[in-house]
């Protein structure tokens, strides 16, 4: 049977991760962008409390055909900062590809879809980015399960409680 259907080997803690600068090398192209494998984590604001980061790509990237994109950049965040119950199980292949020895080696980021106002934004909790804290080797997960089975959507709304919490 398919190796990817094996029971997961590693469960990642999703405690809030404060953004720090890092160079990421994806083991394969980020889905949707041909050639996109090298990115830089650039924390927004004060490094000590930064929750969001820009994730610009340093490669020449193509959407389709031979027309290169002028630039490619994502907005990313640590899922644990807003979704404390978010839990992720990595399959054996991903653990091997990233050379993760234990859960502490792994860092999770999710891609934010910014909207106005900020609290109306969504994040892709279905297909997070995982990278090795020491080496920067990264991948964007493509789960075998569909979104309903997985329990999280590619466009998960920011928690509504944030609005009231922040207004206090």
């Amino acid at each position: 049977m398919n190796q990817r259907e094996k029971v997961s080997l590693m469960s990642i803690a999703t405690a809030p991760f404060t953004m720090t600068a890092a160079n990421l090398t994806f083991i394969r192209e980020v889905p949707g962008f041909r050639g996109a494998q090298h990115f830089v984590v650039e924390p927004l604001g004060d490094d000590s409390i930064s929750m969001f980061a820009r994730l610009p790509c340093t490669d020449t990237v193509y959407l389709s055909g031979d027309q290169a994109l002028e630039s490619l950049s994502f907005l990313v965040m640590s899922p644990g900062a807003l979704w404390s119950d978010y839990e992720l199980h990595l399959d054996e292949t991903t653990v091997e590809e990233l050379d993760l020895r234990d859960a502490e080696d792994a860092v999770l980021l999710v891609i934010v879809h910014p909207r106005e106002p900020v609290t109306a934004s969504t994040a892709n909790l279905y297909s997070p980015i995982v990278f090795h804290r020491g080496t920067g080797v990264a991948t964007q997960l493509v789960p075998a399960a569909n979104e309903q089975e997985f329990g999280w959507s590619v466009s998960t709304p920011f928690p509504s409680s944030e609005t009231s919490e922040l207004s206090c």
Binding site: T18, F74, T93
Partner: protein, 89 residues
């Protein structure tokens, strides 16, 4: 496109080391496949990969404008971090 007719239990071989087996076909038309392949070969459901691709493209497009307003996002993050710190006390 190559079209093949297979029955339950029959197999298709792709290249040297990918084998697809027809496990079952339900009356409703759902086909269950078994796939044997080396670990380095990616096997994804196409509709799942397409959805992730599209969301990545949409998010990157939206971010190209939004991250220009770095201060607003940094401010939101700082307020959120402070709220969490208070709740942890």
């Amino acid at each position: 496109m190559l079209t093949l007719t297979r029955e339950v239990g029959e197999q298709i071989v792709i290249g040297d080391d990918v084998v697809i087996t027809v496990i079952s076909v339900s009356p409703g038309g759902r086909v269950r496949l078994g796939i044997e392949a080396p670990k380095q070969v990616r096997i994804d459901r196409k509709e799942v990969l397409d959805r992730i691709r599209q969301e990545n493209v949409d998010s990157a497009n939206a971010a190209s404008g939004a991250t220009a307003d770095v201060a607003a996002w940094a401010s939101y993050g700082a307020r959120r971090a402070n709220a969490r710190a208070k709740s942890d006390e």
